[in-house]
């Protein structure tokens, strides 16, 4: 038999006894006496604070800040479809709104080295489409990445990605710490027992789609991928 389980019971008995004794003894009550005015104003003030808090939460959009923004699942699905199209090499079918940067890079000697600035993995995926013909120009498209935490999208997620095209090199790195934090408030489960269907997913899953650098490289250009990032590169 677990004796430990009796400890809460003993506490309950002692608490009950204490409460009964406190209620019975007038002396205890007189010690805690508060002036009549305060007795009126404290509960009324408390109620007012609760009502005002509720009004503020409903009237002022405090649930969003500059870093996070609500996102609909249908939008995420649409984005994901575009993401898959891009990785299948169907750049023309991709919604242009998701292309956040586009540029041409001229290379010399028909050679290109793709590398991270520092050792390790890069903050982007790379898709390389080889196009027939001879040219020294590479068309580059940066497809937007997304980080979704629960029902919220992290704004500015792509801002820290740096892509530096120089001569025969394409150097990529991330200037941020890639650390994100948020908090949820949820009602006690008793309070939502009958409305759990309308509640959000308690798992608060985090989903991330890295930005994708789509490169259209003429077949005449010799491409070298740094060993450390090879697994992040897809050649179509």
């Amino acid at each position: 038999m677990n004796i430990g389980s009796f400890i809460p019971l003993i506490l309950v008995v002692l608490l009950t006894y204490g409460l009964v004794q406190m209620a019975k003894r007038n002396k205890t009550r007189s010690k805690l006496r508060i002036s009549r005015k305060m007795v009126f104003y404290i509960p009324v003030g408390y109620l007012l604070v609760l009502i005002i808090s509720t009004a503020i939460l409903y009237l002022v959009p405090v649930n969003e800040d500059s870093k996070l923004q609500t996102v609909e699942q249908s939008f995420i699905d649409m984005y994901n479809d575009n993401y898959l199209l891009l990785h299948e090499g169907k750049l023309d079918a991709v919604n242009p709104a998701f292309i956040i940067r586009q540029w041409h890079q001229g290379v010399t000697n028909q050679k290109l080295l793709v590398k991270p600035r520092t050792l390790g993995k890069m903050p982007v995926l790379i898709v390389i489409e080889r196009i027939p013909g001879y040219s020294d120009t590479i068309d580059s498209f940066l497809f937007e990445g997304k980080l979704v935490m629960g029902d919220y999208e992290v704004k500015g997620y792509n801002d820290d990605v740096v892509i530096s095209p120089k001569a025969n090199e394409l150097t990529i790195w991330n200037k941020g710490d890639r650390s994100y934090k948020m908090a949820y408030f949820q009602y006690d489960m008793i309070m939502t027992q009958f409305t759990s269907g309308t509640s959000y997913d308690n798992s608060h899953s985090t989903e991330e789609w890295l930005p994708t650098l789509y490169l259209k490289i003429p077949e005449s250009i010799e491409v070298t991928i740094d060993e450390g990032i090879k697994e992040q590169v897809t050649e179509l």
Partner: protein, 256 residues
Amino acid sequence: MSSIEVSLFEIVKKQVKFKLTSYQSIWISLVFTQLFGILLSSVVSQSGDSYSQTDIPPGIHSETVFTTINTFDSTFLMVMTYIWIVASTIFLGVASTKRIDFGFISTRLSQFLSTIFTLIILTAIGAITVYLGNSLISLIFVIFHEVMPVSTHFTFLAHVANVTGVFGYLLLYAAASYLAISLYQLNRIVLPALLVLYGLTINLSATYQFNHPIGQLTRFFGEETSILIFVFKVVIFTAILFGSTWLVTRNREVVS
């Protein structure tokens, strides 16, 4: 000399009004227990840290992203409100408080009914304030935390269902406490004996692998998803508890 016939309703109404306005400690304790619960709920969180890696396209992994999601909830606020309703019920149920009731033109029935109506009103106020307290917790986040809180958005009817559910649970606690304190006053051994019996049941159920009655009772209410059926259950169960209390207290003398 004149005699005025006073109806039971009038007596009960007067006594309820008296209890609600005179026992000020109940209102003060409501404020402070709930504020304590709000503060506890605001600082205690479940933290979930994770490294996120993209899995599209399959087989390719990205540079890791470190995410932290803290989940705050209003459980402590709810617990403190339970404690408040139990303490208030004990306060209303003890003999010294009952004696004051008989300063009125009063019968045992009017005293009993007035206590029940007072408890129902207290429970309703407790349910509304505990529910509104969620907003204060969220607001504290917004003011003092850099991170962002997210509240679930309910429809008006959903809010009504939620408050009704909270009211039901608080009323059950009040009714059970009222019966417990009445039993305690009947015989000081009854309450500790019940608690020991409860402990034994829990232990024996764990040892011999059977569902103990408390667990079954918890599931009886906790697994109900229909608010209407829940209300029905609460009404029946509360009626049984209050009825039992009446049976325990109706023949007791008013001791000075």
